[in-house]
Symmetry: C2
Subunit: 306 residues, 2 copies
C-alpha cells in the first residue's frame, strides 16, 4: 500500500535548464494524484515511466501559469491516448472560465469529460474522498487566491487480536461487537474489553502540499502531526522582506511551520532561480528543522506504514 | 553570416519521451526567429544554450495546441528575464483573442509589448522585412487555417571586381555607375561594361517551413529553388488516406513537394508517434528525393553561403 510523492518540477516562476515548473505526483495505493501541473509535466511523467492515463484527479493550487501551463497539453495527450474516464480538476475560480476559453479556442476535443471542482481558497474543506483517502483544502496567503492540499489516508478498520479470537473461540457477532468498541462476555464467562484486544493496524499517513504562500501561523494548526510537508521556500532567510512583498516564504519560515505543525519531514522547493547553490537553502532550514530535504526533479519521498 | 535552423521539437500532436511538440529556431546573422512554439520550447532553448531574450520575432503556423502551448510560458520567462523590447508574434486569427484571454486570466504581466501581426493563411504575402531578410506567408491545407513561412535573405548589394578598380584607377562616381548596371568609359578611354566587372557576392539563402498540411501542388510554385525545406510528413506512405483525412502529408508527398519545388534539401518531421522506427520514414522519402533528413531534437541544418 504505497504512499509516496514524486517531484516532477521544483522551480519558481522562472525555470532553469534542469528545474521545471511546479508539479508533483502522489501515489496512494497505485492511484495517482497530480498536484499542480507546470509546463512540461507530461514529459516529466513519461521520463519517470508514469503513464498519464493513470492520473485519477488533478489539484491546482492557484492560477499562476507556472503552476498549470502544462495542464492543457497533458489533457490533450490523455485524450490522444484514449482516456474515457472523467477527469476531476480541483482548482480555484476562475479556472472554470479558463477551461471554457480553452475549449473555445483550442481545436482539440477530449474524449472524456472534465469536471471542474471549485476549491475555496479561504476555507479548510473536505474536497475529495474515496475509500482510502481524504483531501482537504488549506487556505494559503499568496498574492492571488491560493490553496494548499492535505492528503490523508483514512483511519483503517479496527483489527482484533487473532490469539484472542482463537483462545475464546469468538463468533462473528462477538467479533463485530468488540470491533465496534463494545465489551463482551465470552462463552466461557470471561469479560473481554474492546480496548484490550483491538488495535488500529497502521497509522494513517498524510501529506500536505503548501505552495505558494507567505508564512501562515494558522496553517500549522490545520496540518498537525503531518507525516510529510511540502512548503515552498522561494527565498533565503536574508530575503525575507522580498518574500513578504511577493507572497512567498523563506527557508526558515518553512522550517518554522514544520516545527509548529509537528511535521515529521519537510520538503523545501519553489526556490528562486537567483540561488545557484540550493544546498545552502536546505542548510538554513535545517538550522530550524533538521529533517528538511530539497525537492529535486525525480526525487521520491515515500511514507512507509508503521 | 549565419543562416541555420535548429530543431527544438519534432513530434506530432502526441509527444513521446524524447520528441517534443513543434518548435524550431532560425538564426539569420545572429537574429533569432522562433517558428512554432510547442510545450517545453523554453527548456529546449536553454538546453541548447540559446538565450530566450535573443528571439526577435515568433511565427506561429496555426492554432493547434501542439504548435503553441509553449508560447505563454516562454513569454512569461522573457518578462522575468527583463525583456523590454517589443515582441512581434505572427499568427492566424483568432490568436489576438487568445492573447487577450490569456492576459485577462493569467496574472503575469509582461514588461514588454506584444504586437499581434495577423497571418492570412490563404495568401502569399510579405509579412516581415528587415535589412537582411524577408518572410512570406505560404497558404497550407490543414483542417484549420494554417500557414507556412518562407524565410529569404535579401539579394545582397552588387560588388565590383577589385582588380578592375585598381587597373583602371576608377573613381567613386565610376564605381557607383557600374554598380548601378551602367557601362562607363575609363579615364584611359577603355569601355567597361557593368556586366563584365560586377558580381553578386553570394546567393541569397532561403528556408521554407511547411507544417501542418496536406500535399499542395501549388505550394511548390511559391518556394521554387528553396535551399532548405521543412515539410511535415506525419504519416508513412501506406497511411496516405489517413493523412488526407486528418489534413496531413506522407513521407513521399513531402519528398514529391521537394522535387517539384527544386529544393536542395528536405527536412522531414512531425512524425506520428505510431512509428517507432522513424528511419524507415526517411528511407521512404529518399526513394523520391535523396537529400531528405529527419528533424531530430537538437539537430542543426545550416545553409552556407556560396
Amino acid at each position: 500500500m504505497t504512499f509516496k510523492v514524486t517531484i516532477l518540477g521544483s522551480s519558481a516562476a522562472m525555470p532553469t535548464v534542469n528545474k521545471y515548473h511546479s508539479a508533483q505526483i502522489l501515489n496512494v495505493s497505485e492511484q495517482f494524484y497530480l498536484i499542480d501541473c507546470g509546463e512540461g509535466t507530461q514529459n516529466r511523467l513519461m521520463k519517470l515511466g508514469i503513464n498519464p492515463l493513470k492520473i485519477n484527479s488533478i489539484f491546482i493550487s492557484h492560477l499562476h501559469g507556472d503552476h498549470f501551463y502544462g495542464l492543457f497539453p497533458l489533457v490533450s495527450t490523455m485524450s490522444l491516448m484514449g482516456r474515457r474516464t472523467k477527469l476531476k480538476i480541483f482548482a480555484p475560480r476562475p479556472f472554470d472560465e479558463i477551461l471554457e476559453s480553452h475549449k473555445r479556442y483550442f481545436d482539440i476535443g477530449t474524449g472524456f469529460d472534465i469536471e471542474f471542482c471549485e476549491v475555496r481558497t479561504r476555507e479548510n474543506n473536505l474536497i475529495f474522498e474515496n475509500k482510502v483517502m481524504e483531501v482537504y483544502s488549506l487556505p494559503l496567503r499568496h498574492n492571488i487566491p491560493c490553496a494548499g492540499f492535505l492528503f490523508k489516508e483514512k483511519t483503517p478498520a479496527i483489527n482484533i487480536r487473532k490469539d484472542i479470537v482463537d483462545r475464546f473461540q469468538l463468533g462473528i457477532a462477538q467479533i463485530v461487537s468488540l470491533k465496534r468498541g463494545e465489551d463482551i462476555v465470552a462463552d466461557c464467562g470471561e469479560h473481554i474489553t474492546s480496548a484490550s484486544v483491538t488495535y488500529i493496524p497502521y497509522q494513517p499517513r498524510s501529506y500536505a502540499y503548501c505552495a505558494d504562500t507567505q508564512y501562515s501561523a494558522k496553517l500549522a494548526g490545520l496540518i498537525q502531526n503531518v507525516d510529510l510537508l511540502f512548503h515552498e521556500s522561494t527565498f533565503a532567510d536574508i530575503d525575507k522582506s522580498l518574500a513578504k512583498r511577493t507572497g512567498h516564504s523563506t527557508t526558515k519560515q518553512a522550517a518554522k511551520l514544520a516545527v509548529n505543525a509537528g511535521a515529521k519531514r519537510l520538503i523545501l522547493g519553489h526556490f528562486s532561480a537567483r540561488y545557484s547553490d540550493t544546498s545552502l537553502l536546505v542548510d538554513e532550514a535545517r538550522e530550524v528543522f533538521q529533517d528538511s530535504f530539497e525537492a529535486k526533479e525525480g526525487s521520491v519521498f515515500e511514507i512507509l506504514r508503521n
